[in-house]
Symmetry: C2
Subunit: 655 residues, 2 copies
């Protein structure tokens, strides 16, 4: 696929109606395409491997039978799975929806058609649709605290939108819209003052408003944001902070409670701002995002420090081993950051998206693309048993390797829909031109006032930092090409048509080149990628005195698969050179970083795990070269120990 391919006007997953409050405009999925490299391979595998794997599990888990039994008396199975597992199907459908933008598939379309026909039969006359309630296990809206009815509805709506946008088939959207109309009738105009314990419906309703123009959906989204924070949801197991019901979102200065809920909510908050212009919403989301990144985000982009309540912790509470770091929270961080990027144009949001995508998000999926992590640690102290073959561990079980599926299976389909819609995050446009946010082989075009402009991108990024942007189509007037300079990059270099150009990193983190472009013009951005040593904020106690290795957007880790290396005893000599090498044997070729280190021998410590400081026994140390691999690749070779952060020591003057 190149920029010469026919264009499809497929609205991106987040497509605000009004440009008035958009610093940057999303580019339709048809106009921004991943054409090769890391993400294209994953998109290919997402269709070829992950999708059939997921539909297999939807059957095996009874998710589809939960619907069938309501309309087909020959299905005698009891309803199975969690209260929210309808959403597993909806997210798979959404993923397939976005995936179909890259080419037809009879198999996928048949799956969709069957599912839509089934949902159509199950949906009640008034639009309500939920297998848990329809199985008689609960009354409608009787348990908003834990029932996830609006949450599931939101995913249904999003699936309908995806399929409508990519296939023009609005049959699933019609089902979602009937449910939305029912929700408006039930909740709208303040008819109810409560809301769902798990946010998600908000962003879905806004997108449905964008797709349909029906204002009631936007109004309901705003209402559900307005009522939250006033203690309307109940106590639940963890109190109202768990579901962001302890203070109104406009008054909150930091992210609290369940991480996925907090970030889904904020994504909806920015969506409502983008459509209504209420700046208090934008500012609240910005404040909370800033607090999150400064005080509550891991180096991999993961968030959610606590197993208990799957929650953001206190500021600077960032344990690398006991982290929860749910995969869905990483995805929600991308969703929120993207909306803030559209609203503000600030590349800091794109920086976080990139950090999440190459690290926390990528690490949640096996290289085989059919195994997943729910919990994403930065430190594994002892090898754990591998995930069971053919089984699905509890989400909290955190086995030693990625699992086929989970008891709570929210993450794998969330990964699928993110990969399938990834081109939505590549680029934006404004009146003046194109902005490139993520660098990967791709083609991007957009319609400026004077006509269409198009570029193609060639790069080995993130293995290499050279990015060649070729103008494929242009207009006679000057227009701008804006290229993000990632915050990690120290000495970016730029040539335009072969001529060096000084790189001025603007306040928003982009170099902006404006000129009259001709097709064939080439801009080469060189983002040098030496391996670098990263230190944590001094208040992050859990990794004090430790450093991490990064290169470009990629976080590295030390991994010991066969127990050959005691990672409890490793120290890094931070003044030594880091050697970047290519290891063609490892994972079919990957970049590794060789680093000088030492192994500490603590055998002089006896008895307790503490000592009066004046009596601390000396530890022997011997040199050891260590190899760091990209974090995203860990735990692909069997159960292992792993650490991103390792104790730093200064190189001794005598080796």
């Amino acid at each position: 696929m190149t920029a010469d391919a026919p264009l499809d006007e497929i609205a991106a997953p987040c497509s605000p109606r009004s440009g008035a409050r958009l610093a940057l405009q999303p580019i339709s999925i048809g106009r921004a395409r991943v054409t090769g490299g890391y993400w294209a391979r994953w998109q290919r595998d997402n269709r070829a491997v992950t999708t059939p794997h997921a539909t297999h599990w939807l059957e095996k888990d009874g998710v589809l039978d939960n619907f069938r039994r309501l309309v087909d008396s020959s299905v005698i199975a009891e309803r199975r799975g969690w209260v929210f597992c309808d959403s597993d199907l909806y997210k798979v459908l959404e993923g397939i929806g976005w995936d179909l933008s890259r080419g037809a598939s009879a198999e996928l379309s048949a799956f969709v058609a069957d599912a839509v026909a089934l949902l159509d039969r199950v949906q009640e006359d008034d639009g309500y649709l939920n297998t848990f309630v329809q199985a008689g296990l609960e009354q409608r809206y009787a348990n908003l605290t834990r029932g996830h009815e609006l949450y599931c509805a939101g995913h249904l709506i999003q699936a309908g939108i995806a399929l409508a946008r990519t296939t023009a088939d609005e049959s699933l959207l019609a089902i979602g819209r009937r449910f939305a109309d029912h929700l408006v009738a039930e909740f709208g105009n303040g008819r109810r003052g409560d809301t769902d314990g798990h946010p998600e419906i908000e962003t879905a309703l806004v997108e449905l408003y964008r797709h349909t123009g029906e204002r009631a959906y936007l109004d309901l989204a705003k209402q559900l944001i307005d009522v939250r924070g006033h203690g309307v949801i109940g106590q639940g197991l963890f109190g109202p902070a768990y579901f962001q019901d302890i203070a109104p979102v406009r008054d909150q200065d930091t992210v609290i409670g369940h991480a996925v809920r907090a970030l889904y909510l904020l994504a909806g908050v920015v969506d409502v701002y983008l459509e209504t212009g209420e700046e208090a919403l934008l500012h609240a989301a910005q404040r909370q995002w800033r607090s999150m990144v400064a005080e509550k985000t891991y180096l991999t982009g993961a968030v959610g420090s606590r197993f208990e309540g799957e929650a953001f912790g206190d500021r600077f509470e960032l344990p690398p081993d006991l982290i929860y770091g749910e995969t869905c929270a990483s995805i929600a961080g991308v969703m929120l950051s993207w909306r803030l990027l559209l609203a503000t144009g600030d590349g800091a949001y794109a920086d976080l998206i990139e950090r999440i995508l190459y690290n926390a998000f990528s690490g949640a999926t096996s290289v085989s693309r059919d195994r997943f992590f729910y919990v994403n640690p930065l430190h594994r102290r002892s090898p754990r048993p591998p995930a069971p073959t053919g089984g699905k561990p509890l989400r909290t079980d955190a086995p030693g390797t990625r699992a086929e599926w989970f008891d709570v299976a929210c993450c794998p389909p969330n990964i699928m829909r993110t990969i399938a819609s990834l081109s939505g995050y590549l680029a934006t446009s404004d009146d003046r031109g194109i902005q490139l946010h993520l660098y990967t082989p791709s083609s991007v075009n957009t319609e400026l006032a004077a006509g269409e402009v198009a570029v193609s991108v060639a790069t080995e990024y993130p293995e290499d930092g050279v990015i060649a942007v070729t103008v494929e189509r242009s207009i006679t007037q000057p227009w701008t090409l804006s290229l993000r300079i990632p915050s990690w990059c120290r000495r970016p270099a730029l040539t335009v048509a072969g001529e060096p150009v000084p790189v001025e990193r603007g306040a928003r983190g982009y170099v902006v080149v404006e000129r009259v472009w001709a097709p064939g013009d080439v801009v080469v951005l060189d983002l040098p990628m030496p391996a670098r040593v990263t230190a944590p904020h001094p208040a992050v106690d859990a990794v004090r005195g430790q450093v991490a290795i990064e290169r470009g957007p990629v976080v590295f880790c030390l991994e010991s698969v066969g127990g050959e290396l005691d990672l409890d005893a490793v120290e890094l000599l931070i003044e030594a050179n880091l050697r970047v090498e290519r290891d063609e044997e490892l994972f079919d070729g990957t970049t590794v970083v060789r680093v000088a280190g030492r192994l500490r021998d603590d055998s002089a410590w006896e008895g307790a795990g503490w000592s009066e400081i004046s009596a601390v026994p000396a530890s022997n140390r011997r040199p050891r070269e260590l190899t760091a691999i990209p974090y995203r690749l860990w735990a692909n070779r069997g159960p292992s120990t792993m650490r991103v952060w390792a104790p730093a020591v200064h190189a001794p003057s005598i080796p």
Copy 2:
């Protein structure tokens, strides 16, 4: 009460039948008495404050009604509380039982009599007794994974033993014994091959064997230890490691899974060793204890790093903030260590008992003695809401102040029975004399072959390290007085009858003075107590670069109650002098330690919580004297922030 008071032969809570395998013999509760000081005040408050508080909650929570409704149709309440809440009553009864050793109480005896009469009516003809099952909510032994039936039986048996030993009233013991006979009939001789998910019955059955001489109880205890570890209990929520069913206890090298379960089990394991002499059991318990202390124990003596599964974590996984550190696990650590001390005579076990008692255990109770922590952190990063008045938080809620009671109320009655039986941990005897393990105003006597010997102890310990031991009664032959030299003590000094004597700390950690003693002879042990700086093992990542302040057996902490001090920004100058002072205003007088420190200003950090190391912004620092208080006293002045470990910096040469 002095050593001249009439002696009561009240067998201690752990009273092995055979001396053959005991390095040290327990001393009966009548012969070892706390006569003043910290523990005597707490024992007084335990009767005056904690016990009526607990019986109030047994009523309020429906624990008593759960029994009444089974025999009294006028009690129409539904059964309330967790499956295991019968044990709340049993542990309160056990606490009252030991407490009655210190003096009669009509009120307490009436409570006991009513409860025993009730239990007697509820118990089924075959000896079975469990309100959850008898309420029809489960079949007998149908859910050993989570049912806690044997766990509750164990606490019933222990309560019966306590009352029988202190009051000679065997009516509750008879109920417990009937249940034990039923268990023997149901499980004994391999009639069942499974066991309870929560150990506790093992140590109870061994003690019942000790009390009654009935071998079947010991055999069943051994059987239940033998079957465990072979996957007989099921998966539960957290897999078989959670309840120590993943490998036989004899094969385990470290403590795993739920901390209380692991340590209750090991207490039973040592008990079975003491009666059967199977050394594999002793060695397994010793190995696991050593691993626990070296790699899995907090400075306060707390254990159990993880909320998830209330579990021991990996080695060196010791986060001070996300710690679980259940109060019951601290108590279980005392129980296990005491049994190992009896078996081996090694003072390292008494060192841990002392560390737990003055820190993790003491800190779990308010100075008012009617508020409790379930979770015992060493670091509280932000003030949390106070515990609800009149309410009981979830155990996992970890409010900002101690709670009146808990949804799962295992800890408060466990504290009660520990305090009530504390004199059981003071001292032991052997053929040669007396060993003092804990220093507090007390009287101890024992019968040697040649007659009775007795000592009294006067001390302000742990406020002061001078311990005066007076011989109150002696014999004509020489005998030994063994005094524990705590491992923290650097320069102990000893005088015997006013004459300095060199202190030789033996291999087991005691100075042993053997001579012909005469009544009135005074031995003064001086354990100098400068405040000291303690460093963690270098592999404990979570507190790397941090130090703690200790003095004697007491761990100190920094606490900020009104937000006047940002504990995220505190650094300690570890080469500066530590000043020990008495603050008579604080908590009616306590020792504090003044320490030179600095407050770091991190405002130059912007954006993310990490930085390329070469670009780390400089932080300003300004001097600040800091006051450390005993850890056990934190959170008695309202919600606060607190930390035991704080970053250490070397004193700058220029102030």
